[in-house]
């Protein structure tokens, strides 16, 4: 029984919260998908407003056709790793397409975005001579990459170049390699990093900059290349990591770089070498979605218009919003109990969003994370804004 005792306290809290809310926010099943923004849940059609489907390409005809053709031509799975029998022409082509789109010389495709960060960080940094500096709010996969590397890891204050500068200045002189990790847009609050300043501080101290644009690829920049494109420092980033499971509507991940040594990771990165490569259908869908993203700027325009509509409506309703306007719109609630109830209230009103509660959320906040998609129709957004309007009335009534 010794293995399970550590879960007990959390399990008890979780059970109580589930019971009071009347539904399990972490066990929702989309019983039947009805398109990029709708699903049947418990017999009722729900608007999906807690996804990462920013460009809404999950049902794009080109991507669906490409995935179908790839299954027929190349089979359902590769049954092997990139390092062995799992590299097909599709994997190589996608690496070239991504490198070309971003303007980097080299690119490696991984099986998930999580593994791209895990694989890049754990292979690049080696204890005891190397050190990693990470933004305090970095995603779990960056933390896990640090842990897998075993190297000394120092956090700097979220989105704070001065805090990074101080920590880089304090490093022992015998440190050889320094890797600074941060993200373009942060997934929970939707806040954006001062990418230019962070890259400058990193380089001032002879450190490499690893930027994760998982949530900002396809969303920011004139061509959708991310926050570093918007800030004009795309070519200054040492390692650009991303995912296929958000704007590219598939699953998989990548690391791009101008350093030719990136290729060394192919025989030294364990999360690259010891897992099956992404399936032909996943690769083909990502490739087709990338082609759509390149050729059509209107999806990004629609995404931002939708974000603006929801964000300004929430501002008018007086919600406590976690960040300036972006496609991720997080509302801060008073505590976990209130957040659970509010989440269930939105479900009852036909809207699915993500619930995030401590431990693990920035500043131990309880939030409802909404993400907007370019595929959200005016009808979808009416339902979303309607549900939040009712929620706001409910919260105000409870407060008085």
């Amino acid at each position: 029984m010794g293995l399970f005792e550590k879960f007990r306290a959390t399990a008890v809290t979780y059970e109580a919260l589930k019971e009071s809310a009347g539904r399990d926010p972490f066990g929702v099943s989309m019983d039947e998908m009805k398109g990029p923004t709708r699903a049947m849940v418990e017999g009722k059609e729900i608007v999906l407003a807690g996804t990462n489907n920013y460009l809404g390409l999950t049902y794009d005809k080109d991507a669906v056709d490409a995935a179908k053709d790839a299954v027929v031509a190349s089979g359902t799975g590769t049954t092997g790793s990139r390092f062995a029998n799992g590299t097909y022409a599709g994997h190589r082509n996608l690496e070239h397409e991504l490198a070309e789109f971003l303007g980097y010389k080299h690119c490696m495709v991984f099986s998930t975005g999580y593994q791209a960060n895990l694989g890049a960080i754990s292979a690049l940094v080696q204890p005891p001579e190397d050190v990693i500096l990470i933004d305090a709010d970095c995603h779990a996969c960056i933390y896990d990459g640090c842990q897998l590397s075993g190297a000394e890891t120092i956090r700097f204050r979220h989105n704070d170049p001065e805090s990074l500068d101080k920590r880089l200045s304090r490093l022992r002189p015998d440190i050889k390699g320094k890797l600074v990790c941060f993200e373009g847009m942060y997934s929970m609050f939707g806040d954006v990093a001062p990418v230019k300043e962070l890259v400058e501080v990193a380089h001032k101290h002879g450190a490499y900059a690893l930027l994760d644009e998982a949530h900002s690829f396809g969303v920011f920049g004139d061509n959708g290349r991310g926050v570093c494109e918007r800030d004009g420092v795309l070519d200054a980033v040492d390692f650009y990591t991303g995912t296929f499971s958000k704007s590219l509507a598939s699953i998989g991940g990548f690391v791009a770089s101008n350093h030719p040594e990136l290729e060394y990771l192919r025989f030294s990165s364990r999360p690259y070498m010891f897992t099956a490569s992404p399936s032909p259908a996943n690769v083909a869908a990502a490739s087709a979605a990338l082609a759509r993203l390149k050729g059509d700027q209107s999806m990004r325009k629609q995404l931002w218009e939708n974000a603006h509509r929801v964000y300004s409506a929430f501002q008018q309703l007086g919600f406590d919003l976690c960040a300036p306007e972006s496609p991720v719109i997080a509302v801060k609630l008073d505590n976990r109990e209130q957040a659970f109830l509010a989440w269930n209230f939105l479900m009852e009103n036909g809207v699915y969003v993500n619930l995030a509660i401590p431990p693990g959320t920035p500043n131990a906040t309880s939030i409802l994370r909404l993400s907007v998609s370019a595929a959200h129709t005016a009808d979808d957004l009416d339902i979303v804004v309607g549900a939040y309007t009712a929620l706001s009335e409910q919260l105000n009534a409870a407060a008085t």
Partner: protein, 87 residues
């Protein structure tokens, strides 16, 4: 009754002053106090509290070190060690 056990160590006192606002249960703070088990402080909140200590003493405390310390006393010792190294 909440309180801080008598201790002349300035690092101990500094840590206690940073923990006090998070000590919702009013546990008496001593070197033996376990940050997560006794105080039920969120693990991320512990990391954030450590960042205040870093800036106060102008030192860097690696995440690796924090995950190896459970009690206030262990954290105090780790900080003394790092202060010596980074002085």
């Amino acid at each position: 009754m909440s309180g801080i056990r008598q201790d002349d160590d300035l690092v101990f006192r500094k840590i206690c002053s940073l923990i006090e606002p998070l000590n919702e249960k009013g546990v008496e703070l001593s070197r033996e106090t376990d940050l997560i088990a006794d105080l039920e402080i969120d693990s991320v909140a512990v990391l954030d509290m450590v960042m205040d200590i870093e800036d106060f003493y102008d030192i860097s405390i690696p995440v690796n070190t924090i995950s190896e310390t459970k009690t206030i006393g262990e954290l105090v010792d780790a900080i003394h060690e790092i202060k010596k190294e980074q002085a």
